[in-house]
C-alpha cells in the first residue's frame, strides 16, 4: 500500500539551496564544445571564476573562461573598452578560432549593446589574420536557468555560423543538450553506425574529458569546428533532444528549419527503451538503414536486465530532480522498470514539466507529484513526506538522501562528491543499462548493509 500522497508545501520566496545554476554557465559549456573556442563573459571577474571552479570540480579538466573584468568605472561608463581590450588579450594568449561572448546580469542591466560593440570590433580589425569568429549570446542570470544559457548559446552559434547550401545527404545535426562526455561519445558511435555523419553541438567529449597531455593546450583539442557548424544548414535533418525545450523556446533546430529548411526531429532525452527507440527509429528513417546489430543486441540485453531485476525494483519509490528534460527522461525510463517516480522536481519553471512528463511517461499522470521552480529545501520536505526508497539526480541531493537515509544514484551535472561524473553514461540502451545496474545495486547494497545476516547472494 502506498502512503496517501501529501500535497507539496509551497516554498519560501527566498531560494534555499537552489536546484538550478545561472545562465552564463550553460553558455560557457556550449562554447567549450566548439573547436578552438574560448568562452568570454562580459561582466565581473567573479562570474567567470565561480563558473570555472564549478565546472572543473565536475569534469576535473581545465576550464578557462575569460572575463572583461568590470570595475566600478566600467559599470558606470560602459564596458566597451574592456570588451575590446579583453578580446585583444584573449586573441594574444589563446589564438582562438571563435570567441563566445556571453553577457552577465551586470552588463545586461546597464544595457550594453554587445552586438554593436562586436560589430565595431570586427570592423576595426577586419583583415587581421588572427580575427576569430565572434558569437554573442545574451545570458542575464535573472532570466531563466543554466539550461536557457545553454540552449540560447547553441542557437546563437548556429545563427552566426550556419549557412544554407546543397543538402549533404548523409549528414545530420545532433543537438544533445547538457549530457556527459561519455554520452556524447556514445551518441557519435550510434550515429556513425547508421552510416551517418553527425555535427554535434556542443561536443565537449574531448575538451572536458581528454587524455593526459604531452604539452599544455591553452585551448584543449576537440570540439566541433566552425567549418563543420557552417555546414549545419546543409544537413539532412536536425535531431534535438529535450521535450521541454521543444515546447518552450525557439531552439537551434527551429532556427535551422526556418532559415535553412533543415527539418527538425524533436525527441526526448533518449533514456529508457521508449525514448531510445524513438531515437533509433528516427535515425533508421533518416539513414534508411535498419538499426545496426550491436545496438539491437544492446536493446535485447537491456530488456533481459529489466526482467532479471524487476522484483528488486517493483514498487520502489524514487525522487527525481534536476533539469526538466533530464527529469522527464529519467521518469520515462523508471516507469518501464516498475519504479514509481513519486516526485519529479526541477528548479526550472518552463511550465511544461507536467505535460512533458505525461507525454513521455503516461504512467506518471496519476502517480507522480510534479514541482517546478523548486529548491532543495522544498524538495527535501516533499521527499520526506513521500517516503521514497531512492533518489536520482546530481550531487546536490546528497544532503537530502543522507537525511532520508536512502541511496542517491548520481546522474547528470554536477557530480562534485564522486569520481568520474564525466564518464557516466545515461543515454541510449547502453547508458540506460548502466543506470539500471547502478540503481539495482544501490538498492541491493542498502539491503545487504542493513541486514544482520550478511547475505552473500542477493
Amino acid at each position: 500500500m502506498n502512503p496517501v500522497t501529501p500535497a507539496i508545501e509551497p516554498r519560501l520566496e527566498a531560494t534555499r539551496n537552489a536546484c538550478k545554476l545561472c545562465t552564463p554557465l550553460g553558455a560557457c559549456l556550449v562554447f567549450r564544445g566548439i573547436r578552438g573556442a574560448m568562452p568570454f563573459l562580459h561582466g565581473s571577474q567573479g562570474c567567470a571564476t565561480y563558473i570555472r571552479r564549478y565546472v572543473i570540480s565536475h569534469f576535473r579538466e581545465p576550464m578557462d573562461i575569460a572575463s572583461s573584468n568590470f570595475s566600478e568605472g566600467t559599470a558606470v561608463f560602459g564596458g566597451g573598452e574592456n570588451l575590446t581590450r579583453g578580446l585583444d588579450n584573449v586573441i594574444r594568449q589563446y589564438h582562438p578560432e571563435l570567441i563566445g561572448i556571453a553577457t552577465t546580469c551586470l552588463s545586461e542591466t546597464i544595457g550594453e549593446d554587445v552586438p554593436g560593440m562586436l560589430r565595431a570590433y570586427a570592423t576595426a580589425r577586419a583583415g587581421s589574420p588572427d580575427l576569430p569568429a565572434l558569437v554573442h549570446v545574451s545570458t542575464a542570470s535573472y532570466r531563466g536557468t543554466h539550461m536557457h544559457g545553454f540552449h540560447d548559446a547553441v542557437r546563437a552559434t548556429v545563427a552566426a555560423l550556419a549557412c544554407q547550401g546543397a543538402t549533404l545527404p548523409r549528414q545530420i545535426n545532433l543537438l544533445p543538450g547538457l549530457v556527459s562526455p561519455a554520452d556524447l561519445r556514445h551518441l557519435r558511435e550510434i550515429v556513425a553506425a547508421f552510416g551517418l555523419q553527425a555535427v554535434v553541438l556542443p561536443d565537449y567529449a574531448d575538451t572536458l574529458d581528454g587524455p593526459a597531455w604531452d604539452d599544455y593546450q591553452a585551448l584543449p583539442d576537440g570540439g566541433t569546428s566552425c567549418s563543420e557548424i557552417a555546414t549545419m544548414g546543409q544537413s539532412l535533418a536536425t535531431v534535438q533532444f529535450g521535450r521541454a525545450l521543444a515546447l518552450t523556446a525557439e531552439s537551434a533546430a527551429d532556427r535551422l528549419q526556418a532559415t535553412c529548411a533543415v527539418p527538425a526531429c524533436k525527441l526526448g532525452l533518449p533514456i529508457g527503451l521508449r525514448e531510445t527507440d524513438a531515437l533509433f527509429d528516427c535515425l533508421a528513417r533518416l539513414s534508411r538503414q535498419a538499426p545496426p546489430e550491436p545496438f539491437v543486441k544492446e536493446r535485447g540485453r537491456l530488456v533481459d536486465a529489466y526482467v532479471d531485476g524487476h522484483k528488486y525494483l517493483a514498487g520502489k519509490r524514487a525522487v527525481l530532480y534536476g533539469e526538466e528534460d533530464l527529469v522527464v527522461g529519467l521518469a520515462a525510463f523508471l516507469t518501464e522498470t516498475g519504479i514509481v517516480p513519486v516526485l519529479a522536481a526541477s528548479g526550472g519553471k518552463s511550465g511544461v514539466l507536467r505535460q512533458t512528463l505525461t507525454e513521455a511517461a503516461p504512467e506518471t499522470a496519476s502517480k507522480t507529484q510534479v514541482v517546478d521552480d523548486a529548491d532543495f529545501v522544498q524538495i527535501e520536505a516533499a521527499a520526506k513526506a513521500l517516503q521514497p526508497d531512492l533518489v536520482i539526480g546530481h550531487s546536490k541531493g546528497a544532503k537530502l538522501a543522507r537525511a532520508l537515509d536512502i541511496p542517491l544514484v548520481r546522474a547528470g551535472f554536477p557530480i562534485h562528491d564522486r569520481f568520474g561524473g564525466q564518464r557516466l553514461h545515461h543515454l541510449g540502451y547502453r547508458g540506460t543499462q548502466e543506470l539500471y545496474d547502478r540503481i539495482v545495486n544501490a538498492l541491493l547494497e542498502k539491503t545487504q548493509t542493513e541486514s544482520d545476516i550478511g547475505y552473500s547472494y542477493m
Binding site: Q45, S68, A75, A218
Partner: protein, 454 residues
C-alpha cells in the same frame, strides 16, 4: 607556445625573476581585461570571510549564481549549528531588476529570520543589487529594529574592486558586531583568533595549543564562529591574525577602537607554528606560559621530526610551484617545503601587496619566478620552464598540474585534511610525498618524454 606569448604585455611588471635587477612588483591592480585571472570578485572575498559564522543567516541579495556557486563550498567546520552550510538567495528575477529588489529582500529576510531564528543575518550585496540601487542598508536597519538581531549589510558588489575589497567589506560587517556584547568574566590571558577559518578543524587544533598554554580564546573569526562570541571580542587582550590579507583591516580597526594590539602569525609549518605560540607567550610576559609553550613545541617536534625524516629523504632536491590566494600563506609554504628538502621555483598569489612580494624576494632563491594575479597560460608556462615536481594551489590550479603530469597539493578551502599546526605539517608532508612519488607519473606522456630525454 613561447614564453613571450604566455605573458600579456600589460602584465609584464607583475612577473619577476628573483635576483634580477628591476622594478618592484606592480601589484594591487585590477586584473587585465581578458586575462583568465584566478581571482574571483569582491562578493567572493566577503563571502569566504563571513561564511564560517555558523549561527547566522547568510542571504545573498542577487541572482542565483552568486548563491549557488558558494553553497556549502568550503570545509569550514562548526561544532554546533550548521546554518552557514545553506545557500539563501533572493534569486532576483527580471521584474525585480526593473522594479527594484528591496521589497523582495524585506520579505525574504522575514521568512528566513522567523524560520531559523539566527543570532544575526548577513545580507550580501551583489553586482546587480548595486546597479539597480537597492538601499540594502535601509532594509537591514528596519529588519534589525523589527527582529531584535543584528541584520548586517555586506557591501560586496562584485565589480567594486577586487577580492581584497570584499575582505574589507566583511571586516566592516564584523566590526559592526564587535563591541555590542558583554565582556565581563573574560580572563586577562585572552585572545581572539582572526583569519582562521576552521578548514578541516584547523581552528580547533590551534585553540587546543593555546588552551594548553593557559590562554582563553574569546572569539574565532571566523572559523567555528558564533555571533555572541564576536560581539564580545573587544574584551580580548590580543588579536592573533592569520591570513593577513583578509583580516588585518579588522585587527587595525580593533586596535584603534579598543586598543587591542595584534600580531600577524601563520600556523603552517614548524617555524611559523612555533613562533606563533612563542609570540603569544611573550606578549603576555608570563614565564609559566612561555614554559608551557616550549614544552608543547618540544613534545610535538619530538614526535614530528623523526616522522618527517623519511619523507624528506625521498623529496630532497624536488622543485615546487606555489600559487595561492594570499601571499602570507606562500611564505609559510616556502619554509615548510624547505623542511622537506624541496625548493620553491615558482611562487605567486592573487592578492599580495608590495611588502608581501618584497618578503618573498628575500625568502626565495635566485631565479625563482614570483608572480602576481597570474592565469592558467602563464602558470603552465612557468611550471614547464622550471620543471617542477609539485604544484600547490586550489581547485582551479589542479588541472593545470595534472594535465602536465605534475603532482599537486590542495591548499585551498575545500580540503578535508588539516594542514595547520604540527599535525598539519605531518599531513602536508604525507600529501606532498604521496603525490610527488606516485607511480602514475611513469605513464604520463610528458613525464615519459622528459625522462627519455635525460
Amino acid at each position: 607556445m613561447t614564453r613571450d606569448d604566455a605573458i600579456l604585455d600589460e602584465r609584464r611588471a607583475q612577473v619577476l625573476r628573483n635576483g634580477a635587477d628591476g622594478p618592484a612588483m606592480a601589484c594591487g591592480k585590477t586584473s587585465a581585461a581578458g586575462s583568465v585571472s584566478q581571482r574571483a570578485c569582491v562578493f567572493c572575498g566577503s563571502r569566504v570571510v563571513l561564511y564560517p559564522i555558523a549561527d547566522a543567516v547568510h542571504l545573498v541579495h542577487g541572482p542565483v549564481g552568486c548563491a549557488v556557486y558558494t553553497w556549502d563550498i568550503r570545509g569550514a567546520l562548526s561544532s554546533g549549528p550548521q546554518l552557514h552550510r545553506n545557500s539563501f538567495c533572493t534569486d532576483l528575477q527580471e521584474t525585480d531588476v526593473i522594479h527594484g529588489g528591496e521589497k523582495k529582500l524585506t520579505r525574504c529576510l522575514r521568512e528566513l529570520v522567523t524560520t531559523y531564528r539566527p543570532n544575526a543575518a548577513f545580507v550580501y550585496s551583489t553586482c546587480i543589487a548595486g546597479i539597480i540601487g537597492d538601499d540594502i542598508g535601509a532594509v537591514c536597519r528596519k529588519a534589525t529594529a523589527e527582529y531584535g538581531i543584528p541584520v548586517i549589510p555586506v557591501m560586496s558588489e562584485g565589480f567594486k574592486g577586487t577580492k581584497k575589497d570584499g575582505y574589507r567589506a566583511a571586516c566592516e560587517a564584523l566590526a559592526s558586531l564587535i563591541g555590542t556584547g558583554d565582556t565581563t568574566g573574560i580572563s586577562p590571558h585572552s585572545i581572539n583568533i582572526l583569519g582562521e577559518f576552521n578548514i578541516a578543524g584547523e581552528t580547533w587544533i590551534i585553540r587546543d595549543y593555546l588552551t594548553a598554554m593557559g590562554i582563553n580564546v574569546v572569539a574565532t573569526m571566523t572559523g567555528d564562529g558564533r555571533v555572541p562570541d564576536i560581539r564580545r571580542a573587544h574584551g580580548a587582550k590580543l588579536n592573533l591574525v592569520q591570513c593577513s590579507g583578509s583580516m588585518v583591516h579588522l585587527a587595525k580597526e580593533m586596535e584603534s577602537r579598543y586598543g587591542i594590539p595584534f600580531k600577524r602569525v601563520s600556523y603552517f609549518g614548524i617555524e611559523d607554528m612555533s613562533q606563533a605560540l612563542y609570540d603569544v607567550a611573550e606578549f603576555f610576559g608570563d614565564a609559566p606560559m612561555l614554559r608551557r609553550a616550549q614544552e608543547l613545541v618540544h613534545r610535538e617536534l619530538t614526535a614530528l621530526l623523526p616522522a618527517l625524516r623519511d619523507y624528506r629523504r625521498d623529496l630532497t632536491g624536488r622543485r615546487a610551484a606555489i600559487y595561492v590566494g594570499g601571499a602570507f600563506k606562500a611564505f609559510s609554504l616556502v619554509r615548510a617545503l624547505r623542511h622537506l628538502g624541496m625548493q620553491t621555483v615558482v611562487v605567486g598569489s592573487q592578492t599580495g601587496n608590495a611588502d608581501d612580494y618584497r618578503q618573498l624576494k628575500e625568502l626565495c632563491d635566485p631565479g625563482t619566478i614570483i608572480v602576481d594575479d597570474s592565469n592558467p597560460v602563464e602558470l603552465a608556462a612557468f611550471v614547464r620552464e622550471k620543471g617542477v615536481d609539485l604544484f600547490i594551489g586550489g581547485v582551479k590550479e589542479r588541472p593545470i598540474a595534472y594535465k602536465l603530469g605534475i603532482g599537486f597539493c590542495d591548499h585551498n578551502h575545500e580540503r578535508k585534511r588539516a594542514l595547520a599546526g604540527f599535525v598539519g605539517m605531518l599531513n602536508f608532508a604525507r600529501e606532498v610525498h604521496a603525490t610527488v612519488t606516485s607511480p602514475v607519473w611513469n605513464y604520463v606522456p610528458r613525464r615519459r618524454r622528459l625522462q627519455e630525454a635525460v
